[in-house]
Structure formats: C-alpha cells, structure tokens
Amino acid sequence: MQLILDNLDVLFFVVLFFIGYVAGRWNERRHYASIRKRERELAGVLVFSNRFPPVAAAQVDSRLVSGSVVISDDYFKDVMSGLYSLFGGRVRSYESLIDRARREAVLRMKDEANKLGAEMIINVKFQTFAIGGRNQNSVKGVELLAYGTSLAPVRR
C-alpha cells in the first residue's frame, strides 16, 4: 500500500499513458475512417493550387471558401514526441495528427464549395497554427486552415 502511495505520480503517468494510447488510437482510426468516407463522397469537387482558372471556366461564379479544424494530440503522442525530440528524426505520432487535420480542413472547405454548387476550388492555400504548448498547463492543439476560391458554373 505504502509502495503505491509513494509512487502515485508514476502510477498516474502509466495510467494516462495507457489511456492516451488506447483512446488516441481508437479516435485516430475512427477519424481516418470518417475522412476516407467523406473523401469518396466529395470526390466530385476538384482541388487545385493553380492561381488561374482553366480557360474553359469563363462563366463561373467565384467565391472564397475555407475549412478549418483544431485537433488535439493525446497523452501518448505527447510523450512520444518528447522522446523523439531527444533523438531527432521523424516524429511519426505527429505526422499522422497533422495529416488528419489537413485532410479534415480540406474536406470542410470542399463541403462548403459543394453546398455552393461548385465543381472546383483553385488557388488553395494552407496555414498551420500551433495552439498552446508553451507551458505545462496549457492546452496543446494544432489548427489547420485551408482556403481557396470555389468556381461554380453560372446557371441561366
């Protein structure tokens, strides 16, 4: 009993680490499944980083569309990133986090364009913004913003 009380902080860490691993993985898997499903649904909206619209698109209705998401890391990813930062190299736990956030932001932007009846989005720009993480108590997250101009055919 005394041993448990003495090592309460270690126990706390292990429990959080375990919860973070299980819940984080579950969340990530569920999110990826949802992303893949919606990417298939919105495959009709094309996304380009071109600055100019295709020549054929002379009669279009252009409008600014954007999508953003703030995604939190989990305790497991947090600890792993700390370890990675000691040895350098790829921080895999964060690579998948950013990948999810960026794809989610693009999907939300596509969804907005789709509602406007647009067939493509051009001049897409990305912006990444890290929230918090400056001290131990602050909330850590990363915001991904995607924005561009949607082109919808003009209906007559």
Binding site: R51, V60, S66, V70, I71, D78, Q127, I131
Partner: protein
C-alpha cells in the same frame, strides 16, 4: 461583396483598384472550455470549442475587412489572405487582408 483569393474574377473586368484593406481581431480563450480541452489532450480528437473560436474570429476579421472595403466604395476584395499569430500564451490574433476593387 465578392471575396476571392484570386487576383482577378473570371469573366469580369476590374474597373478600379482601391488599395489594401484589412481587418484583425485578438481573441482569448475561455477558461471553462479549457478544462474540457485539457481532458481532450489525454484522449485526442478535435477541440471543437477551439475550432469554433478561431472560425468566429476569422469571420469577424473578414467582416472588418469587408466594412473597410465598403467604406472605400468597393464591390469586391481580391487576393484575400489570412494570417494567425499568437500574441501571448492565451490569445491569438487573426488577420485578414486583401485588395479592394470595383468590378464592372
């Protein structure tokens, strides 16, 4: 008001350039929402309160930019860009800027 991040509008001609317009807002986070977000930091997932907060701030910055463009007599803002920067640990500035133009 037409907003676009292109440098032109397909099928329309820019009659007049009115120069740079901008809008910005500085927002701080809410302590109550932060407690929930702190829990999310353990299990991962989207921080919806933060997504909404930043989205609202971006809308407000855009609104301020649009107001400035309206005052200048523009009917469109082209080449719109966004920028986000953290001012202190708990607050962020959202900045929107573009070129106000009159379309024919």
């Amino acid at each position: 008001m037409l907003l676009s991040n292109l440098e032109m509008v397909p099928g329309r001609r820019v009659a007049k350039h009115l120069g740079l317009v901008q809008g910005s807002t500085v927002r701080a986070k809410h302590v109550g929402k932060d407690i929930f977000a702190g829990l999310k930091n353990i299990v991962g997932g989207e921080l919806k309160a933060y997504t909404e907060l930043l989205q609202e701030s971006r809308d407000e910055a855009t609104q301020r930019m649009v107001k400035q463009a309206e005052a200048a007599g523009a009917n469109a803002v082209l080449n719109v860009r966004y920028a986000t920067s953290s001012i202190t640990a708990g607050a962020a500035e959202i900045f929107a800027y573009g070129t106000a133009v009159v379309l024919e």
